[in-house]
């Protein structure tokens, strides 16, 4: 009997040991400054109803570089990413304060249309979300909604986007097949191709590899090195090794606040803040 009770208790999820308290969050984050920033947030705060998901985050992101945003679950990193192309607008009760400059223009300013902003700032989701249509139609959709194109022009754009996303060789003979018949990694590269087809200047990636196996992950990471030659990439990841591999700069968020922002190498090798060190050494997360 005692033994059975023991099992019953063990099934309850254990509370994660909270070894780090919010008191360690520095009042002024340690932030590297960047000249000619492609994206810059100034005191950006995002609220869901009364709850603040992002609190006064200020940082600058470098052009044609990859910036990683790391932090434990619920730290607001996805919220921050989605603030950049105003995808948070689609969430009811979500409110944004502060400034967010993309190419020097505040995207929350009165004259900004999110539809045009999102053409310039692509977003890749955590779970590959191809449309339940053919491979070709997936890539063509974004092009058709923004441009009037002839069939030949469209064929060309689709091919070049699929080549850029390193998917063309695998699908060139079956563009009419359903996108859902592709593997998870191929689906994610299709989503990247779909975003690239409308020639964005920025690519936001929200944990793009969390649903993928290591080989598929490696292909996406290789792709990121190719892509940053002519675009600015911001990637949210809970995988610190991934941040260390792909990112030039890394920002560490905790409980909606920016704790530290630096060149990736410096952040991982010589963190300024105790909280950062605790996180990257795996003491909590």
């Amino acid at each position: 009997m005692a033994r059975r009770l023991f099992f019953l208790k063990a099934e309850k999820p254990a509370q994660p040991p909270e070894t780090v308290s919010a008191e360690l969050i520095p009042p002024t984050p340690s932030v590297v400054s960047i000249s000619d920033a492609a994206i810059e947030s100034r005191n950006l705060s995002v609220f869901y109803g009364a709850k603040a998901a992002i609190r006064a985050v200020s940082l600058q992101m470098s052009r044609r570089q990859t910036t990683a945003i790391i932090g434990p679950s619920g730290c607001g990193k996805s919220t921050y990413l989605r603030a950049i192309n105003r995808m948070n607008d689609t969430i009811k009760g979500c409110r944004t304060e502060g400034e967010l400059l993309v190419d020097g223009e505040d995207v929350y300013g009165p004259n900004v249309d999110p539809v045009l902003l999102r053409r310039k700032v692509g977003l890749i989701f955590q779970k590959p979300n191809p449309f339940p249509k053919s491979i070709y139609e997936n890539v063509a959709f974004g092009v058709r909604i923004h441009y009037r194109v002839t069939d030949e022009e469209l064929d060309g754009v689709v091919e070049s986007a699929l080549r850029q996303a390193d998917l063309w060789d695998e699908v060139s003979d079956r563009l009419g097949d359903g996108a859902l018949s592709l593997s998870g990694g191929q689906q994610q590269r299709l989503c990247i191709a779909r975003a690239l087809a409308i020639e964005p200047d920025f690519l936001l990636m929200d944990e793009p590899c969390s649903a993928l196996d290591p080989i598929a992950t490696a292909r996406i990471e290789d792709l990121m090195f190719e892509l940053k030659k002519d675009m600015t990439i911001i990637i949210v990841t809970h995988n610190m090794q991934q941040a260390a591999r792909v990112a030039d700069y890394t920002a560490f968020l905790y409980l909606g606040r920016l704790v530290e922002y630096n060149r990736t190498r410096d952040l991982f090798e010589r963190p300024h803040e105790e909280l950062t060190e605790n996180y990257i050494t795996g003491r909590f997360g």
Partner: protein
């Protein structure tokens, strides 16, 4: 703490499975009996004549459903033409565009309640509105008036089914389209509606089935009972299958027996055994069921094809 008896748990399991099985046997058994009774009554009348002949109130052997079949196809076709665009548009608005306000909730409750209103009430509305007030447009109790009445009747079903179909589309598709810079309508038109198409087809099936089977509203607006010409345009008078069946059922069987007694019919005629008008009515039910069944098969094949194409 005492362990629950496993034997008791299994016994409860078996009992419930038995109850479920009995329930379905009762339901299917009733249906089978109904079908069996209808088909056996109709059997002597299931001949070409019953399909191609016009109605007759005199001789069951000459009586047919030609005008009723064409009338039903007219009414159902026009009803779908009106109700599907209207209902889908209303459903999309309520689900995608309407602010989550008290007014929206009131509208949704109103639509749901509309689905529960007895159909004869819609008939009265149709009579007042389409047959009388809008007589100049509809031309009285015509195919058009019937279809418009049916449109109001099936509208709530189309709206609710559309809402369900749209709601079932994963949010990730909508977000994927919006993230590419689609406007809300482009996301709905390009991704949400195609992904929800099988559900929208369900709305079509529901609407058509309702429009095919409803009797009371058409009787109330004044569909004819015995019509000896085919409706040729939306402003023709018409009769529909269920109305015609109701008409035959209402004919006194005595007439038929009189015919028999007066020697108009050969007493050895095997059709007499089935009782005349009820047999004609049963044949009409079989025709209605066949049309309904054929329509459902077509819709189901289309839906399966749609779902397969996505993989």
């Amino acid at each position: 703490m005492k362990l629950r008896s496993l034997r008791l748990r299994k016994a409860i399991e078996v009992t419930f499975v038995a109850v479920f099985l009995i329930s379905i046997v009762v339901a299917l058994g009733t249906l089978a009996m109904l079908l069996g009774s209808v088909v056996s009554t109709a059997l002597p009348y299931l001949r070409t004549e019953v399909v191609v002949n016009y109605a007759s109130a005199v001789n069951p052997l000459q009586a047919g459903y030609a005008a009723a079949i064409v009338g039903t196809l007219w009414v159902v076709g026009l009803t779908l033409l009106f109700s599907i665009p209207l209902g889908v548009a209303a459903g999309v608005y309520l689900e995608e565009y309407a602010p989550r306000s008290r007014l929206t909730r009131f509208l949704e409750a109103g639509v749901a309640n509309l689905a529960g209103v007895p159909s004869v009430v819609f008939g009265l509305l149709g009579l007042a509105l389409f047959v009388r007030i809008l007589r100049d447009i509809t031309g009285g109790p015509t195919v058009l008036a019937g279809a418009l009445t049916m449109t109001i009747l099936v509208f709530p079903y189309v709206v609710i089914t559309t809402q369900e179909a749209v709601r079932a589309v994963p949010a990730s598709l909508r977000e994927g389209a919006l993230a590419l810079g689609a406007t809300k309508w482009q996301a709905i038109r390009g991704q949400v509606l195609p992904a929800g198409a099988p559900g929208l087809l369900t709305a079509v099936i529901l609407a058509a089935s309702r429009a095919m089977g409803e009797t009371a509203p058409l009787i109330v607006i004044g569909a004819t009972f015995f019509q000896s010409y085919l409706p040729s345009d939306p402003r023709s008078f018409f009769v529909a299958l269920p109305v015609q069946i109701y008409g035959y059922v209402g004919l006194p069987r005595q007439d038929f027996l009189d015919l028999n007694r007066n020697g108009i019919l050969d007493p050895g005629e095997p059709l007499l055994a089935s009782g005349g008008w009820p047999g004609v009515a049963a044949a009409g039910i079989v025709i209605l069921l066949v049309i309904l069944f054929a329509f459902n098969i077509v819709a189901m094949v289309a839906r399966n094809r749609m779902q397969r194409r996505r993989l």
